[in-house]
């Protein structure tokens, strides 16, 4: 079959890379890699990581193929990671292409996530940064040693230029391709010390705006996403999910569905009913004809409007301690003797990912039922393969994964939930199955960012200095949703995804952050920005409240608190300067400001807004962002990600909300879950401040600042403080926190 997966993005077939005899007489693709492909050998204990050399392959004609294990969902790591490898390898960039390697976490896992083969948490570059540089440097060393041996000169006397080893004293050079023609790869790759890696000042690839590998095919329709998988003899499936998360089917009347021409079978799954048909259109028609009753669930009684009030009541009840995420100094003591205290309550609604590609998966099971091929655009190839192996009671090497582009990830495509649906279908049908959720089902089965309730308090001394801080976060747990209650034993009742971003750099001596966990029985997962998406809204809005209560300029106030944070100071000053902070703005407009360190990147943002007080519609006119992610790999990708962050962030600030009634998601499609459209987009001005620090996250760094920027601007404009997300027209109009 002719499947084109992510590998095709850079025009190199997997066969060409791994075929050995088929074109490559030499490859620095080393045992780990070949073992992985061999499958049988993997089972014999290649579990021990043999990552060295598994990343680089060089052909005698000089073509360089890099194995790049990250998912490409628009964030650009399919290009940024090769830039890093090519830099350290000293490769001629014009000869570099990539393939997607086999799913072997022991080799290709991200050290930031326990070696799992996953792409999330803005962790591709910061997680792989050291690992792939060391691998690339080792490969370069092998090439140098081979040349040194051939010339019988000391290693110390030679150097590299793009894709060539040079002995300057004798004016001799060998291209990497030429070396690949004769060199043998040592059984043990050389060990490189971090101190031997290239210095920032010597970079010639990193830091240069580099066209992304994936873009040309994304303009011609040639780029393949999971939903585009075509497997011979496949059938189509679509699902009616339980309307209340994890309910099970009680009674299924499938007679009308089965009467739809082309429908082959109706198959009950654990938490859904599948309609399988010869065509998509028949499957979708069959879905509409199903009549199903579902088991009752505790969540049947849950409504998010009432729940939100309960969350906030719980946040206010200081006797309910919850789990401690941060405890410094003497918080109770400092509040007791404070000259002044301030308290506010904030809340944010559930939000849905709304990626443009509805969830889908394709699978085929071998006739004996102990192996499978899967075709997915996923953030988590590793977890998906493990889940599939577990389901089929087999080993991971029996699962062949084809990685595709993702039509939006944003966290939703991390968990392996689709395996539990598509594999039973493929088994039952004994044919390959392409499963596509309808958009309506994608919404109804949303795995949301949790709803949150917050109580936040500050203690001020007689000079107005903030000396105490108390933040209480009430929300369901994403990790419990994914891994069950037992996970709490290992986390001391905490959830790092939910609590992400609740810490800050403001240097307050006495602080407590507590997590009060709820369990309401709705579907949850990571959502772009994770906890920072709401925690920074709360913190940056409340800091603004403190500043304005003291009649101190909010920018100056933060600069005062961040005296020991030079990188924070730099981005704040840069954005204030760029936006003309403190200067007059157009009539009926106002500026708002926020600062935060998110995914280890320093970001400051200012937005200019106006509001129609009759309709409550907020209009965002312009955003300025300054950010310092450390070393910038591909500057244009940083700009693109930041533009996207402003727009995505504005969308969730102004529009996005899932409401739950009787345990059921009420929204259906883009008509009642609107996202930001072109006409609502602000002008965006971005300043990148690159510094000589390790590169940090970009995919979700700016998003969490957008809500507080808008809220702070709205306060300046109207004197009304919005303490709820989204700032929907109804809420703005009412000037209320909750409506």
């Amino acid at each position: 079959m002719t499947m084109i997966d992510q590998a095709a993005a850079t025009k190199v077939s997997r066969r060409g890379f791994l075929g050995g005899a088929a074109g490559l007489t030499f490859a620095l693709s080393l045992p780990g890699f070949l073992v992985a492909e061999g499958g049988a050998a993997l089972a014999q204990g290649a579990a021990g990581p043999k990552p060295i050399g598994a990343w680089v392959s060089i052909a005698p004609d000089g073509a360089i193929v890099l194995a790049i294990p990250t998912a490409e969902m628009g964030q650009g790591s399919l290009t940024a990671l090769p830039m890093i490898v090519a830099e350290e390898l000293d490769a001629d960039w014009s000869r570099v292409s990539t393939i997607y390697p086999p799913v072997v976490p022991g080799i290709y896992g991200n050290p930031m996530f326990g070696g799992q083969m996953v792409t999330y948490g803005s962790g591709a570059i910061r997680g792989y940064w050291d690992k792939i540089r060391l691998q690339a440097a080792a490969a370069r060393r092998v090439l140098m040693q081979a040349a040194a041996d051939k010339w019988a000169v000391p290693l110390a006397d030679i150097h590299t230029e793009p894709s060539a080893v040079v002995h300057a004293a004798s004016n001799r050079r060998l291209s990497y391709g030429e070396i690949a023609g004769f060199a043998t790869v040592p059984a043990t790759m050389p060990t490189i010390d971090k101190s031997e890696l290239k210095k920032t000042a010597d970079y010639r690839i990193i830091g240069k705006a580099t066209p992304r590998f994936d873009i040309p095919d994304k303009t011609t329709g040639a780029a393949k996403y999971g939903i585009d998988a075509q497997v011979p003899n496949m059938v189509y499936a679509t699902l009616l999910h339980a309307p209340v998360d994890r309910a099970t089917p009680d009674h299924v009347d499938d007679s009308a569905a089965l009467a739809v021409p082309g429908v082959l079978k109706v198959i009950p799954l654990d938490h859904a009913i599948a309609v399988v048909a010869e065509t998509v259109e028949a499957a979708f028609a069959g879905l509409g004809a199903l009549k199903v009753t579902w088991s009752s669930m505790p969540a049947d009684a849950y409504g998010s409007v009432a729940g939100q009030k309960e969350f906030l009541a719980r946040a206010a009840n200081l006797g309910d301690k919850g789990a401690s995420f941060l405890a410094t100094g003497d918080v109770d003591g400092i509040f007791a003797k404070a000259a002044k205290t301030m308290t506010a309550q904030y809340t944010t609604d559930y939000v849905y990912h709304a990626g443009m590609e509805p969830m889908n998966a394709t699978a085929a099971i071998d006739p004996a039922g102990n192996g499978a091929e899967i075709w997915l655009g996923t953030q988590g190839p590793g977890p998906n393969v493990l889940a599939a192996a577990k389901m089929l009671k087999t080993t991971p090497n029996k699962i062949k994964h084809h990685q595709f582009y993702l039509g939006g990830g944003y966290g939703r495509r991390s968990p392996p939930d689709l395996m539990f649906e598509v594999l039973p279908l493929a088994k039952a049908m004994q044919r390959p199955v392409k499963m596509i959720w309808t958009r309506d089902q994608d919404v109804k089965t949303a795995k949301m960012r949790p709803m949150t309730g917050h109580q936040i308090e500050a203690a001020l001394d007689a000079n107005g200095k903030v000396v105490g801080w108390r933040h209480r976060v009430v929300a369901e747990s994403i990790i419990v949703y994914g891994a069950g209650e037992k996970v709490m034993q290992f986390t001391k009742g905490l959830d790092n995804i939910v609590l992400e971003g609740s810490k800050h750099e403001y240097g307050i001596p006495n602080q407590s952050i507590a997590y009060l966990r709820e369990n309401r029985g709705v579907g949850l997962s990571s959502w772009r920005g994770i906890g920072a998406g709401y925690n920074k809204f709360v913190i940056e809005s409340f800091i603004d409240e403190i500043a304005t209560a003291q009649k101190v300029d909010p920018v100056q106030f933060r600069l005062g608190l961040l005296q020991n944070e030079p990188r924070a100071q730099a981005v704040i000053k840069a954005v204030a300067d760029k936006a003309g902070w403190g200067k007059p703005v157009a009539d009926g407009h106002a500026l708002g400001f926020a600062y935060a360190k998110v995914v280890e990147t320093y970001v400051a943002a200012i937005g200019e807004i106006s509001v129609d007080e009759k309709t409550g519609i907020i209009r965002a006119h312009k955003f300025w962002v300054a950010l310092d992610p450390g070393i910038v790999i591909n500057p244009d990708s940083v700009l693109a990600q930041t533009e996207g962050n402003v727009i995505f962030g504005l969308s969730q600030t102004l529009k996005e909300r899932v409401s739950i009634v009787d345990g059921k998601v009420q929204q259906n499609n883009y008509y009642d879950y609107p996202v930001l459209r072109m006409a609502e987009m602000p002008e965006i001005d971005i300043q990148i401040i690159a510094t000589d620090n390790p590169p940090k996250g970009m995919g979700e760094a700016t998003l969490p600042l957008i809500s507080p920027v808008v809220g702070n601007a709205l306060y300046k404009l109207t004197g009304k403080r919005m303490r709820a997300l989204p700032m929907s027209p109804a809420r703005v109009k009412a000037g209320l926190t909750i409506t």
Partner: protein, 153 residues
């Protein structure tokens, strides 16, 4: 079922499918031209935009029965070598992120430039506002359309 004949990207085809089958699925799964995307199935997002006799339509809302003997153009047929001025501008300005909506964006934009060689920013926004991009590539889409218009698309 009766086969319905139409022209797609310059080639005559007969498709044997239920007459109410959305053109989207005919294109994607019957004809295997997967550049046209399924986003919402409700005409709300524009990911499925193709040209029908030169006009941009939402293929998810267009039954097969209504396209007999008509000309359909999908992203695969926008240009022979991926070199329509808009496609070139899309690459030059590095427009796509995840890229899933971009076939629809390009087909929508191509229809604009076909009828208005030099659209204003407001005209671009008005014409493109029905096409969602979740990643937020709107600023680059506008710049790319302006750039292609300048090149005389």
């Amino acid at each position: 079922m009766v086969a319905i004949s139409f022209t797609i990207n310059g080639k005559a085809v007969d498709v044997d499918a239920a007459p109410d089958t959305p053109l989207l699925w005919v294109v994607r799964e019957h004809l295997k031209l997967t550049g046209t995307k399924y986003g919402c199935g409700a005409g709300m997002c524009g990911a499925c935009t193709v040209h029908l006799d030169g006009q941009p339509i939402r293929s998810c809302q267009t039954p097969l029965s209504t396209i007999a003997d008509k000309q359909v153009t999908t992203i695969e047929g926008l240009s022979e070598h991926g070199d329509h001025p808009l496609q070139k501008a899309w690459v030059d300005l590095q427009v796509p992120q995840c890229g899933y909506c971009q076939s629809g964006q390009l087909m929508q934009a191509a229809a604009l430039l076909a009828s208005n060689k030099n659209p204003s920013r407001d005209e671009i926004v008005q014409h493109m506002d029905g096409n969602i991009c979740r990643c937020g590539t709107y600023p680059r889409i506008i710049r790319a359309i302006q750039s292609a218009a300048k090149q005389g698309a």
